[in-house]
């Protein structure tokens, strides 16, 4: 297609695509859809990558949305339709060719191999054309990760030894293998979509962007991805806090200085002078449940608060499972190694007594007893945890004591509100004493932090 309005089929495909993106929480208006259609007219449909970039430019508004956009685009505008041509691949032969392509770093060939792999090894079910396609099963049979040594030998043999950058070779190969795994995933999604309709697959099989993933269900790589967003998020929040602080500085009228200033305008007070507030940087105390179930959430929040440390005169962080200990030093700048944080806390702090499951009552009681001096009238306390006490005594008196001493106390709970109070959750009991907020993902956390943090 060269010029003129996009054909009816294209318009339909485009609106379906936009609807699928909206389903993932992207806010796209009609104006953007129209722009996208105009972009299609300008660019034509001949080059798929141009189309991808053109649609991204017109439909997206932020960098993080790209992670959702790309897989959905692959579903709605696939490179090919149906199964790859040629006879079904033999497993060993496929692995040989895969090793070669990985050594060469040839993206196009890897993509083709991904298609063959899914076709040959990803199908399951009984019907002749198979009932579905599984990326997991494909990767389980091909095992690309075991090719590392072969690929390394291949590259070395070809290029010879001695280049300094070759000590990075293993990581580069791992990244290529990771790319192949993603290609297999995309290919499997495409094949399934042909069978079951792309709208449904676009809704279900495309992972949400990192800041919308629930802390409680995020896997390891999702958490790693989240950790990389800590610094940008902290910078954003710091700007927001600074703006709030500026606004808050507008106080009452300073009469003496207003009258003094009015002398230059013949005694008419043209310009009111406001009383300046003494800048008092607030103190922050964090109480974090770091037991297995909620540790992802606590780690993330601790890192975020640490990144914001220059906004406060003092930040103290306490971790607990069923005993409480101060971990501020472990978070200090320079020593912070985000991946190992959880392990280091478990190793170096005394967090458990006789058993390993979390006990809010005992931990908070111990805090009120041992570290009461950490909380004063200028302190804001954040408690992070799901309030699941394993049927222990919630010990509300301790919480009451903490709230009484602190300027403000908030509880951030990573569980959905509907689950508060089910099973061993003492959330309702605590929510009566403390302002409790649901905080399931990084997006909610960012919003809460910018609203609740004292200025």
């Amino acid at each position: 297609m060269s010029a003129g309005a996009p054909a009816a089929g294209v318009a339909e495909r485009l609106t379906g695509f936009v609807a699928a993106l909206r389903g993932h929480g992207l806010r796209i208006g009609t104006g953007e859809s129209v722009d996208a259609a105009r972009a299609v007219r300008e660019l034509g449909l001949a080059d798929r990558e141009l189309l991808r970039e053109g649609l991204a430019a017109t439909l997206l508004h932020g960098g993080t949305q790209r992670a959702v956009f790309d897989p959905v685009f692959d579903l709605f505008f696939p490179r090919v339709v149906g199964a790859p041509e040629g006879p079904a691949a033999d497993r060993e032969d496929l692995r040989d060719r895969l090793a070669e392509a990985l050594a060469a770093g040839d993206t196009a060939r890897l993509e083709q191999l991904a298609a063959e792999a899914v076709d040959g090894f990803g199908g399951y079910g009984s019907s002749p054309d198979s009932d579905g396609w599984s990326a997991y099963q494909t990767l389980d049979r091909i095992r690309p990760q075991t090719l590392l040594a072969r690929v390394r030998a291949g590259v070395r043999g070809e290029r010879g030894d001695g280049d300094f950058a070759d000590r990075l070779l293993d990581d580069e190969i791992r990244r290529r293998i990771e790319m192949f795994r993603r290609q297999v995933g995309a290919e499997a999604r495409r094949r399934v979509a042909e069978r079951r309709g792309r709208e449904e697959i676009a809704r279900r099989a495309v992972a949400p962007s990192a800041d919308r993933v629930d802390f409680l269900y995020a896997g390891r790589d999702r958490l790693a991805e989240l950790r990389r967003t800590v610094q940008p998020l902290a910078r954003k929040l710091a700007t927001r806090l600074a703006a709030r602080r500026r606004r808050a500085a507008r106080g009452s009228i300073d009469l003496r200085r207003t009258v003094r200033g009015s002398l230059s305008t013949g005694g008419v007070p043209m310009r009111p002078v406001l009383r300046r507030r003494r800048p008092a940087r607030p103190e922050l105390v964090l109480l974090c449940d770091v037991s297995g179930s909620v540790s992802g959430f606590s780690d993330f929040t601790m890192l975020l608060v640490q990144a914001l440390h220059d906004q406060f005169s003092k930040v103290r962080v306490f971790a607990f499972v069923n005993r409480i200990d101060e971990v501020t030093a472990l978070l200090g700048h320079g020593t912070a190694d985000p991946e190992g944080l959880g392990a280091r806390i478990q190793e170096e702090a005394r967090l458990t007594g006789y058993h390993g499951s979390s006990d809010y009552g005992v931990s908070l009681g111990e805090f009120a007893e041992r570290y009461a001096s950490a909380v004063g009238p200028r302190t804001t306390v954040f408690v992070l945890g799901d309030a699941r006490t394993n049927y222990g005594d919630p010990h509300p008196a301790a919480v009451r004591e903490i709230t009484r001493r602190a300027r403000r106390t908030y509880w951030l709970n990573p569980e959905p509100r509907a689950q508060w109070g089910t099973g061993d959750s003492a959330a309702p009991a605590y929510a009566e004493l403390v302002e409790m907020h649901e905080c399931r993902n990084a997006r909610q956390l960012g919003a809460l932090v910018s609203r609740l943090l004292p200025v």
Partner: protein, 285 residues
């Protein structure tokens, strides 16, 4: 301005700006659809350079508005030259008020600032609004009118509409989330780090004296550093700096000593240096 996406890449390359397909496509669309271009991305990937390159390619004048906290209407749009107006009034003492009034609010006393400059006149212009995120929210409201209708209202003169629309580029480092309203009026382009091949070409172009295989090694090491969890990952600007440093040091290949001595060009934090050294198997830095 352009006929095809390939033409955009080719002509930008002539000015020394190597554009990725994403950049070329978006520039092409911004030109064709007549919409402003919002460019985001980490520092040092060439956001501002892009605007300069587009200006050079199209033979347009570059009008630049540098945003900062507290930039306001009188800095961005226009201002009356009060001092000159006072002089004019005292010069024509026995004039009637009406004559003086119509005169002192004329073109002669108007100080145009970047936004007004960009929409007045018939010559082609590229308007660069740099670091938009540094400006206050009120400033965004002002930009909305200018960017959607390309017109400005000066109460004493009336509404000034652009006879020729400038090519508008807004850049942002995302320190503050720009408002949805502003984003909607723009095409969005995220410039990330270039892929290995493109970055190699950029290094070869900017540092012509550097050996080809050395340039490839440089890019590979930088790529590995970017994959690490660092406080500040090296950007394209740092890659070029490093390549220049290596050239100045007279290095022909990368080896342990050279890397150890020059790593400070790439990484700006002590803890990052330590991590990178551990990763690259260097002795103490």
């Amino acid at each position: 301005m352009f006929r095809s996406v390939d033409e955009v890449s080719a002509r930008l390359a002539e000015t020394g700006y190597l554009a990725s397909p994403a950049v070329a496509t978006t520039v092409f669309l911004a030109d064709r659809l007549g919409k402003p271009l919002l460019v985001e991305g980490p520092a040092g990937v060439g956001k501002t350079e892009l605007a300069k390159a587009v200006a050079e390619v199209s033979g347009a004048r570059l009008v630049r508005l540098q945003c900062y906290e507290g930039v306001d209407e009188s800095r961005a749009l226009y201002e009356w030259n009060h001092a000159k107006q006072l002089l004019r009034i005292s010069a024509g003492r026995d004039e009637s008020w009406d004559a003086a009034r119509t005169d002192i609010f004329g073109e002669e006393f108007l100080l145009t600032r970047p936004l007004l400059t960009a929409i007045r006149g018939d010559d082609p212009k590229v308007l660069l609004i740099d670091e938009t995120d540094k400006a206050d929210v009120e400033m965004e409201g002002l930009l909305l009118e200018v960017l959607s209708d390309f017109q400005v209202t000066v109460p004493e003169l009336g509404t000034i509409t652009a006879t020729r629309r400038p090519f508008v580029v807004l850049t942002s480092n995302a320190t503050r989330e720009l408002s949805e309203a502003l984003r909607r009026r723009c095409l969005f382009l995220h410039i990330g780090f270039p892929d290995e091949e493109l970055e190699r070409r950029i290094v070869r172009l900017k540092v012509p004296g550097l050996d080809g295989t050395l340039a490839a090694s440089v890019v590979r090491v930088v790529g590995a550093l970017r994959a690490m969890d660092l406080r500040k990952v090296p950007s394209v600007a740092e890659t070029i700096d490093w390549a220049r440093t290596l050239l100045a040091l007279g290095a022909t290949t990368l080896d342990e000593d050279v890397v150890r001595d020059s790593l400070g060009v790439l990484l700006k934090h002590q803890e990052d240096l330590q991590r990178a050294a551990a990763k690259l198997d260097l002795d103490a830095v």
